[in-house]
Symmetry: C2
Subunit: 331 residues, 2 copies
Amino acid sequence: MDRPTMEDVAARAGVSRALVSLVMRGSPKVSEHRRAAVLRAADELGYSPHAMARSLASRTSHFLGVMVSDLHNAFWAEIVDGLDACAREHGFELVINTGGRRAPRERQALASLLSFRPAGIALLGPVVPASAIEAAAAQAPLVLVSRSSRLSTVDTVNDDGQTGSGLAVDHLVSLGHTDIVHIDGGGGSQAAPRRTGYVAAMRRHGLRPQVIRSEYTDVAGAKAVRELLEARGSHLPTAVVAANDFNAIGAISAFEEAGVRVPADVSVVGYDNTSLAALRHVSLTTVDQPRIEMGRLAAEALLQRVRGERTTPVRHLLRPSLIVRSTTAAP
Amino acid sequence: MDRPTMEDVAARAGVSRALVSLVMRGSPKVSEHRRAAVLRAADELGYSPHAMARSLASRTSHFLGVMVSDLHNAFWAEIVDGLDACAREHGFELVINTGGRRAPRERQALASLLSFRPAGIALLGPVVPASAIEAAAAQAPLVLVSRSSRLSTVDTVNDDGQTGSGLAVDHLVSLGHTDIVHIDGGGGSQAAPRRTGYVAAMRRHGLRPQVIRSEYTDVAGAKAVRELLEARGSHLPTAVVAANDFNAIGAISAFEEAGVRVPADVSVVGYDNTSLAALRHVSLTTVDQPRIEMGRLAAEALLQRVRGERTTPVRHLLRPSLIVRSTTAAP
DNA sequence: TCTACTTGTTGGAGCGCTCTAATCCTGTTC
DNA sequence: GAACAGGATTAGAGCGCTCCAACAAGTAGA
């Protein structure tokens, strides 16, 4: 497994190591004749540049570190798609990591990412404390996605959860609903703005808000609905705004188990527009975050800092949109 | 962003750079007194080692490169969990990449991974041609997950798809089904063994196999069922073995749209036991691959080669198991 | 007391590359 | 024919680290 180095390529092509370096970096000041010779030699030897040595010598790197909090949630995949597309356009690559939504492991993952000296770091829905983020931001440009921060050294990209649940409420009200319950995301990331957005929208329509404490899982959603059924008896709400899609799915199955039909008896709106919601079998009305766009903005923010074009923090708050499918109808 | 180096730590602690290096690598031959001084100095300066420089100097690395073919599919997340757990136990870390299930991008991703000179490489469900895999395997130990290979330089970890669909058929037969159709995965990875396993199991039970060409998506599953409904008219099969969970979900919704109830009128079995299948709303009977175990075995295979313990290829074929939920019943 | 180890520490070479400054070429101009 | 311009090429230092050989400073054995 002893791989050829620049020196080997140089020797074979009959030029200096420095010239090979120029060719590899695509420098314009190399004669066509030599360039061809070098590329041929590299090809014959099966040479591929050593990213580490390169970034060590140049004191810069051409990749962005991405920590995905949870690989199990496809929500992040599209954010990564956006990051990847933007990075790629600017000649950067992505190096991904995961912390499994647990602070100690995320810390390690972050340190590991940092040890590669990436040009910048994107944290997708991290759960580590702000202090860890601040420390990391001192080492490399850093952007947070789906997590807000007041740190002046970090950029953030979020969807406007407040507006998002407002859209859900507006939609239900326009269908004629007045008894609308919110099953919330508890302490989960972005659960708070979604909750306050729901409450504000209800007040705006002159309706009485009711929030049921829950979590971002289908099990929690089902549990919340069972509590609701018990508390309300036969006088059920006509609509539910769930914390996210998983929660909504759980809520729907609990309703169905109790003989309550969706959307005939009760309408349900999710949040996130995960691929799950799009499945025909589920066909969930939900709030969509422009994830690809969020990824792109995150990469862009990072690259601006990398290029030293900006030192002031930027706070992107993207406008979500409502995707109407089959789980909502007139009461 | 000028980060401290070993030299800085050494100066502050009043020792040589080499000693700092020993401390950082946890060498036992350092006096407690010096070790403490070095660690204190490192902490005060906020020093963290430079992974690149380290691996450049040592000509070894302590991380495994992982190319995930599709980040959108949570199927891989658990494989990564297994890889991660095993790697971590042996002092290795994971560096992840994605190729988006498209050969050209996967090629790039592979080259990029290789340029970091990882100790080994795991390819999860890659779509690149065998030649690209062979070339990569010449550069670093390589293991394939969910893809078979005849190359003597690569290890493979797969589930036994043949046995898997056999389990599905056995289950349906034991419930009393005899008219069982297979909606297959077309040219998708591992679709062939699942198909042949289905056919073999049907023959074993003295039943006539019927395969409908399809793909690994819910849309394709729905389409296949609509074709089936058209072709069979009122004489429907009593059970369906789908190519995977997505396909099964699509099939179920197409059945329901046509007024065919699952499992009352027709039973459906999926494959992969994705988190989707476990959702109460879906509750799909499906074939489970021991994914965590597969990830662990992949990491183990890699580490054996890294340590030079083995040069002959290993072929893991794991036994899947059936998870019975609510989409199957007696005909 | 001398030698042989052991334990802890250090200088220096070198990993594969980049980057600066210097050098080598042409060809052009006076 | 000398002087020069400007592009193509190269030597050499150095990025932050590891690793080896060498070296003090004890400790034990003869």
